[in-house]
């Protein structure tokens, strides 16, 4: 159960981050980074030196389209190599230099030519140097004519700028600015600077030179390697478990979880596929598999994943993980209103303490913001109010109860029913459902314990006395040495007034428990009370 929740959390994180990651992907991927070829490799060169010379000269005139201002002759890019090869191929088939360049121009445009062709767009470009020279000459000749016609003499105008009068430093009687004045200026400067600094700076952060962080670094490294070791161990033991017990769905799910922690997606996917096969297409596992596929695709809800989600939702329209992922898919498609309505549905179906509720709210907020004002209205309208929600749950509960009448061995169904009743505020019926779940799995310690816990928590020991006895008897058989059994036995003994028996049970429990268990002191106190 915890594994499932944790896996859900991971997906949620991925889901929240991935819409941000995808638009930031580089707009155009080129082969450049993958296979560094070299500008003009020996294999490209033509045998005939004259032809090769032609090829080099032509290449020097062709721009590499995926580089920054290089010719294909100089570039290492794959596209550059392809063009070089193509040029050589055309040379060997007898095409002239001009035709080769024209062919390239037809497919790639003027941009590919380093020598801009003379066309309507480039008349100004090619004409400009001529125009500049002509205009410049015109200005020069014009100036010269003016100068010849009216040579101007030097006017002995008095200096109009009195401040300029003395060529050297100021006369001695310059008054120095007063101390007060200087002081005010300095204070003013520091004051304004402080103000600005408080807006821009981070006075609270100390320097963190690398030398002072060796402890932190080693600790982090240790933690990381410890984590990795733990992950690998968990993975290994999960694998062992699965090899020993290949038909156990839980084992495969645990393997998937361990693989998820160790970031081994292929293992995770394979494990989930196995679990899916054994469980005969359980929609929850389908949803888990879809989540794993998306994780392997860096958060993108791929088409195969969507297919799985659709199937899961058909089988179980309230499967929470499937609903969440469906919302994510809509989000990635930028269909934000759909995302909001899907997530709202999930919200209404979930218990208030469901582990995904904390970030589900944030996801809905985010999608509502992206949907924009009109989108928010639509999404709000699509949300169910509490009465409708109740009605929906009631309907679901009724349907589920009906189904379980025919299939009383469906432990999961009983658990779901119990949860639904609990949300509806009907603990008695919830308890009944839990007991039915326990009855449907008489060898499963957990279901017995869950039922007993619920009974105790709600004070139903009297209402369900007979069932409790039955549960306790089963617990005796399943785990005679179990701590829980001792505890529950003691509790029910105390409830019926049999203090001696209670003391006996709880004392043996106390003896077994290690002394530093936090529970010990409470237990001792309870024994003393008896």
């Amino acid at each position: 159960m915890r594994a499932v929740i944790l896996a859900f959390l991971c997906l949620a994180l991925v889901g929240l981050v991935s819409p941000l990651a995808i638009p930031l992907a580089t707009p155009l991927a080129t082969p450049f980074a993958i296979q560094p070829a070299m500008a003009v490799t020996p294999e490209e060169m033509l045998g005939d030196p004259a032809a090769e010379e032609r090829a080099r000269n032509i290449s020097k005139q062709v721009r590499c389209l995926v580089c920054q201002n290089q010719s294909i002759d100089d570039s290492d890019a794959d596209l550059a190599r392809d063009l070089r090869v193509e040029i050589r191929r055309q040379i060997t088939t007898g095409v002239s230099d001009d035709e080769i360049l024209a062919n390239l121009r037809t497919t790639y445009g003027d941009y590919v030519l380093l020598n801009p062709p003379v066309s309507t767009g480039t008349y100004v470009l090619w004409g400009a140097p001529v125009i500049i020279i002509l205009v410049g000459l015109g200005i020069l000749i014009g100036n010269r004519r003016q100068m010849r016609a009216a040579p101007h003499t030097i006017e002995a105008t008095p200096r109009h700028d009195a401040a300029h009068h003395e060529p050297f430093d100021a006369p001695a009687e310059v008054k120095k600015p007063s101390r007060l004045f200087t002081g005010i200026i300095i204070c003013g400067v520091i004051g304004v600077s402080l103000l600005l600094y408080l807006m821009l700076g981070r006075a609270d952060l100390p320097d963190q030179p690398l030398a002072s962080r060796t402890a932190e670094i080693t600790a982090t490294a240790k933690l990381q390697s410890a984590q990795q070791d733990a992950q690998q161990q968990a993975l290994a033991s999960a694998r062992a478990e699965v090899t020993a017990d290949p038909d156990n769905i839980g084992a495969w799910l645990r393997l998937a979880f361990a693989a998820n922690q160790a970031l081994e997606h292929p293992t995770e996917i394979a494990a989930l596929e196995q679990a899916l096969a054994i469980s005969k297409d359980d929609p929850s596992i389908k949803a888990m598999l879809a989540e794993a596929l998306s994780r392997a695709a860096e958060g993108q809800i791929t088409m195969p994943a969507r297919q799985l989600i659709t199937e899961a939702l058909i089988a179980n329209p309230e499967e929470p993980r499937a609903l969440y992922i469906a919302g994510l898919a809509a989000y990635q498609d930028e269909d934000f209103t759909k995302a909001v309505s899907l997530w709202r549905r999930l919200e209404s179906l979930s218990a208030a303490d469901a582990p995904w509720m904390s970030y589900l709210g944030d996801s809905i907020q985010d999608a509502m913001q992206k949907a924009g004002p009109s989108g928010e209205d639509i999404a709000a309208a699509a949300a169910l109010d509490s009465d409708e929600r109740m009605a929906m749950i009631e309907g679901m509960v009724a349907g589920l109860a009906e189904r379980l009448k025919d299939e009383p061995e469906d432990v999961d169904g009983w658990n779901r029913l119990a949860r639904a009743y609990d949300v509806l505020g009907r603990p008695q019926q919830s308890a009944t459902a839990l007991i039915s779940a326990a009855d449907a799995s008489i060898n499963d310690k957990k279901t017995q314990i869950t039922a007993l816990e619920y009974i105790i928590a709600n004070g139903f020991e009297d209402d369900f006395a007979a069932q409790s006895t039955r549960l306790l008897t089963r617990l005796d058989e399943i785990s005679p040495e179990g701590l829980e059994r001792l505890f529950f036995r003691g509790h029910f003994a105390r409830h019926t007034g049999d203090n001696a028996a209670a003391k006996k049970y709880w004392q043996s429990l106390l003896d077994i428990l290690p002394d530093d268990t936090p529970f010990v002191s409470d237990l001792a106190a309870a024994i003393a009370d008896l």
């Binding site: 707009p27 155009l28 991927a29 082969p31 193509e86 497919t107 445009g109 002995a156 791929t302 930028e334």
Partner: protein, 204 residues
């Protein structure tokens, strides 16, 4: 009278004469305005470029294709599966999208859902550019295959004919077999709504 005074008087007289002969040039002169005009022209160009880049209408990485309006080039490529070759004439009569992609291309993965969306409205034929068969198959398995056909351009030669300079690139081909538009880069909802769907509608 000091010795300097006659000289000064003469200077002053000369200055006055000179002033009458050519008044000092004040006011605007064209040659002095030219640098300012030139700079303003450059600044206007830069400002337009800057603001169009900021508003998103100009994308430096997008090279306008000169193949638009021309008929589809000869593209006899082997199909991914099966022994046949791609025959684009079979798709005449309705709009067709050609999508150049590759398994080694990250943005191609990102645009997979958008292509799936598009495939409901228009036929898409994909060409795997400089890729291997096995890698293409695993890409399609992982990200889904919304394509009517997938062809392999192993050496990039077909790409050269289309004017491809990177992946992904998507071409819209009209019912008559002429290229209508080219989008370089991954396709997302915005591109679909603003560029591709309007173009497809215009063809119908």
């Amino acid at each position: 009278m000091t010795p300097q005074e006659p000289q000064k008087a003469q200077q002053a007289k000369k200055a006055q004469q000179a002033k009458k002969a050519n008044p000092p040039k004040t006011g605007l002169q064209l040659s002095f305005l030219l640098p300012l005009i030139g700079f303003m022209a450059l600044a206007i160009i830069a400002a337009i470029a800057l603001f169009s880049t900021l508003s998103g209408t100009r994308d430096v990485s997008q090279l306008p294709s000169v193949m638009v309006g021309k008929p589809v080039p000869e593209t006899n490529l082997p199909l991914l599966e099966g022994a046949k070759t791609l025959d684009l004439t079979a798709f005449r009569g309705k709009p067709l999208l050609i999508n150049f992609f590759a398994s080694w291309c990250a943005p191609c993965r990102a645009e997979a859902p958008a292509l799936a969306l598009l495939s409901r409205d228009v036929t898409i034929v994909a060409i795997a550019y400089k890729d291997k068969q096995a890698d293409t198959i695993s890409f399609l398995t992982q990200y889904g295959n919304p394509f009517a056909a997938v062809a392999m351009d192993y050496d990039g030669q077909a790409g050269l004919k289309w004017g491809v300079y990177g992946v992904p690139e998507t071409y819209l081909v009209g019912p008559d077999g002429r290229i209508v538009l080219r989008h370089a880069g991954p396709i997302d909802r915005r591109v679909i709504d603003n560029e591709i769907m309007p173009a497809i509608k215009a063809l119908q």
